[in-house]
Symmetry: C2
Subunit: 204 residues, 2 copies
DNA sequence: CCACCAAGTAATCATGCGTTGACATGATCC
DNA sequence: GGATCATGTCAACGCATGATTACTTGGTGG
């Protein structure tokens, strides 16, 4: 039913007997399908086909569909804030946010990590990972905004996280325009205003 | 597998031979399960059980699972902005937003309409409805904010929509705290600042 | 060259779930 | 009170899909 070629990935060269390569190919295909279609609408047969690999190898390398999903999900936090911290200061924060939200900064990952992070298999462990990743993202925003001045500083930082999540969803999943078409440059001004408004007068 | 009693709805009185009532019961159960579990993880058997109704009646009243989903979805726009417009003015906008985002204003609907609206069955018609509903919500925000002063006023209004979507997702689906626990009152201040910052100095 | 093991393949199983059609039953009207 | 139709019940089918097992292939080390 849903075996449309969602990725243009299959049919690589005659890559034979390369365990690491098949693992990578499976992960890439899984990421793509899970992100675009969600957990349930992603079938292992389609993933295997995209990767140009036999279905049974998914069991060999990842144990189960859930295992494959978790493996694909485990990569996302790296792409959220990167390992490095955010730059300090409001203006830099707004710029970093607008780039992360609107740019194709996800090129390496292939899809939008936030959307992948929001995908749900029903597993509680997955929900925890998601919560942790977004909480960490919130912490980074809080730090970048210059420490905590207001008592609700944490709440305000998480509102920025929520904004990020909402923008990702509305752009990629919903396709609301003009938001979906906005470039990082067009987003920068409004986001700057939000950050300034939300975080209030600099505390330092 | 997923036949936990997600709603406490079954086993009403001996309501026998009341077509309208069974339709209503089915819609309520469907709304609940679709919103919490999504399209695929919602089984018709569970919906029927929740409603205390025979499985085959879903076919009778809604034709198919897709039909049931669309019927449940068709109710959501009513609960987004209500039929009435938003109150005019920035402060009123912020207040309305914070109430809609954090309050149990969804009591009548039973679940959070935004989350239901984000659920996907894969049907293109559904995607259109979702886009339309959110676009309409954006239009209302734009009007409430006092017409269009800036050239990117539309974009800014949609950013508020995205914020609403993000807050709904992060609160109900992700459970990020303290955001998830915040009361409408606690949300009001930060939201007011966002609205003021985003919409800039009043144009009138 | 042979033996061995990882890598890959093919076929099948098991089952959850949407769908369907034939049947039962209660109300309403003449 | 019986005909009739809407409402509700029951049992079953068929298919998609995740899982699994037995088998084949190819490279590598002795």
């Amino acid at each position: 039913m849903s075996s449309d070629d969602v990725t243009g990935q299959a049919a690589d060269g005659p890559r034979r007997r390369d365990a690491a390569a098949t693992r990578r190919a499976l992960l890439l295909a899984a990421r793509t399908r899970f992100t675009r279609l969600g957990y349930d609408r992603t079938t292992l047969r389609d993933v295997a086909a995209d990767a140009g690999v036999n279905l049974a190898l998914i069991k060999r390398y990842f144990g189960s569909k859930e295992g494959l999903f978790k493996a694909a999900l485990a990569e996302t936090p790296r792409f959220l804030g990167g390992t490095g911290e955010f730059p300090r200061g409001r203006a830099a924060l707004a710029e970093a946010l607008s780039r992360q939200l609107a740019a194709g900064a996800w090129a390496e990952f292939g899809e939008h990590p936030v959307l992948m992070l929001l995908r749900d298999s029903g597993d509680e462990q997955v929900a925890q990972l998601r919560r942790r990743a977004l909480a960490e993202f919130g912490r980074q925003v809080l730090e970048a905004s210059g420490g905590s001045s207001a008592p609700d500083a944490e709440l305000r930082a998480e509102l920025l996280v929520a904004l990020g999540v909402g923008v990702a969803v509305v752009r990629s999943a919903v396709g609301l325009r003009p938001l979906a078409d906005a470039t990082p440059e067009e987003l920068l001004g409004p986001l700057h205003d939000i950050v300034e408004g939300l975080l209030g007068p600099p505390s330092d």
